[in-house]
Symmetry: C2
Amino acid sequence: MQPVNIGLLGLGTVGAGVVDLLSRNRSEITRRAGRDIRVTRAAVRNPDSPRDCDTTGIDIGTDCHAIVNDPDIDVVLELIGGEHEARDLVMAAIASGKHVVTANKHLIALHGNEIFAAADAAGVVVSFEAAVAGGIPIIKAIRESLAANHIEWVAGIINGTGNFILSQMMFEGVSFEEALADAQRRGFAEADPTFDVEGIDAAHKLAIIGSIAFGIPLSFDRIYTQGIRGIASDDIEYAAELGYRIKHLGIARRQETGVELRVHPTLVSEKALLASVEGEKNAIMVYGDAVGPTVYYGSGAGAGPTASSVVADLIDTVRMMSVDPKGRVPHLAFQPDQITHEPILTEPDFECGHYFRVQVADQIGVMAEITRALAEQQIGIEAILQKDPPTAEDDARVMIVTKPARERRLMKVLDHIRSLPYTREGLVHMRVAQFED
Amino acid sequence: MQPVNIGLLGLGTVGAGVVDLLSRNRSEITRRAGRDIRVTRAAVRNPDSPRDCDTTGIDIGTDCHAIVNDPDIDVVLELIGGEHEARDLVMAAIASGKHVVTANKHLIALHGNEIFAAADAAGVVVSFEAAVAGGIPIIKAIRESLAANHIEWVAGIINGTGNFILSQMMFEGVSFEEALADAQRRGFAEADPTFDVEGIDAAHKLAIIGSIAFGIPLSFDRIYTQGIRGIASDDIEYAAELGYRIKHLGIARRQETGVELRVHPTLVSEKALLASVEGEKNAIMVYGDAVGPTVYYGSGAGAGPTASSVVADLIDTVRMMSVDPKGRVPHLAFQPDQITHEPILTEPDFECGHYFRVQVADQIGVMAEITRALAEQQIGIEAILQKDPPTAEDDARVMIVTKPARERRLMKVLDHIRSLPYTREGLVHMRVAQFED
């Protein structure tokens, strides 16, 4: 069979990883795919920059549109990242009848609805396994392997930078700022870490996960997003004493009335599998009504793991190039005319356990007042810890983990506690996730 | 589009789970697959037996061959289990041009080579995700998601019964016999537990994993297989003191000279993810050269999880029914003419860490002699533990964990230790797996 010609847009870390992997494992990949897959053209900003791969046989230029329109190119591989230019190029590739593979979560989360509609109309496939959790095949797992299930929830550590920072705070006892600086030194965090530490990168990925799990349109702008900046080492310690680890999770969860899509720091029981995922690793837990809990673990970033998913998509694309579009796996797991528009719930309707820490004057009746307020809102208590604060001798710190409760009710309790005369400033609140492994 | 008609062979626990799942999640499944999937005929031993599912609309009879030859049946679902009858029915279904889905590991491990050759010749697909690790999508992960990788090794807890027994021995402090009886009471183990406790069930699964990981023919009869019968509670305790858990693993691993395919009790560092997989759960770790380590966790058995994988295969089959066979995922991950015949190594060539326990007379020079014997074979020591035995006051028990070593060399050391005048009967040896999470 004829080789398949790939046109590569962007030859940075991931692009070089793909070229290197296709060359290193060429014979095994061809043995699996049935056809040789080769990168014949690439477009880059500066053709004279040094590359992390052998570019022999690749025609390197600067014009992305020339590649997108080249009739000899069978599949366009978009690895330039970012939003607008990538969108225009992918739409142009689709318009010229080419299949597309991309690792761009930002692009898919924001423009996926438009892109998939165009691809379905043009009879081409846009693949994006590498856009979520790097080398972990979570898109295929949810979209194909769990296709028989009513997915109840998905919860994942889907930002390696954030997880690395939290692991360092836990095990090295460093502050958030020190851990972030360490992550930047090691190349796990960008110079501008906003996307990672504010939860935006995780929200991009969660938009994709939520869509394929529930058959809803990509809904990035409806995601509740909270980052890890400002998590105190104290809370990491107290959580540990209570039997929990603080993880930054993306959670997509069904309720009767709609779906929760939320990204925030979360307390996870130290016995749960997700609690033991350390450093820059990712893990995603998916709960289907038939299969029960399943977990997928691996490297969420880096040239090799990302290239692994990109090339898997290329192999799938090659296998599908002869296929009637109706027979393909739908882009968003459900057939395009079967996407539904379920309500996406906001914070007051979230339902989960809660952790809060409040500093109060150490006097009789305080704990009674706090627990009474919880009881009044019918919120059960899972664990209570009381400690002397590092300073302020006459104060006490109270840490409480509640049983699952509607967030609206918990907020009433916290408002009440804040209003009490003996309550100090700076109440800390985090959500708790209870998982059934 | 026309509904797809499934002919079901066998309506036991898994069969009822499939019928129930197809009915319960009908609308979501149709939204994903693009066509309605319905079981229209089933063949059972006794049509009057009560069923665990609503069989309305299913024509239930006793003649499997009538279903296999029914022109109105699009896909045959083989769930009768066992070897010979299942083989004949699957081969007949292929001969009549029907796609097949099966959960039968025994069948695939022993007759897969013949079955896949016939299916490729007939242009039909035989799917078997449920044959390995129940609801965990490990076949698709290795065959499709990691297709860009040179797979270095796969190691998995792939027999839930065995893992349950080992967990009970660890946490309840019971003996092997007591834990087995408990597993039987709870329905995790068959009345005749031979396949589970002797490692045969795990070897069936490992044959399939090894084949799709390395592109070699199914090689069940070449697998080194050791069960969990006879593991002493003492060794579970000592292993724990040394920082290890004993797990029953299936391991497929490349060496320069060939591949290791082995099933045996294995010490795993308590820090490794696989160590924390408890009870009847399964987990498989796959190490690819590009992606690094990945882990897949979930329920390895039961009606719901197995039905989840069976119905995923049905959905894949429905999507592929319009597809050119050349474009499909190859049965054994590699194209049929690209299967190679690598040497399969035997025990002396296995390379891993080792644990051994030996009871000796407590006299000067014994430890020196044992460690000298290891050094002479160039085997490094990872950890040493010495204990008084429960009885025999003048004896000592020595437990050693070695660094990875060729098994041939370790056997020489053990033979030497056995031959020493102060060595008692009953030296215990187990292998250790070192994983990079």
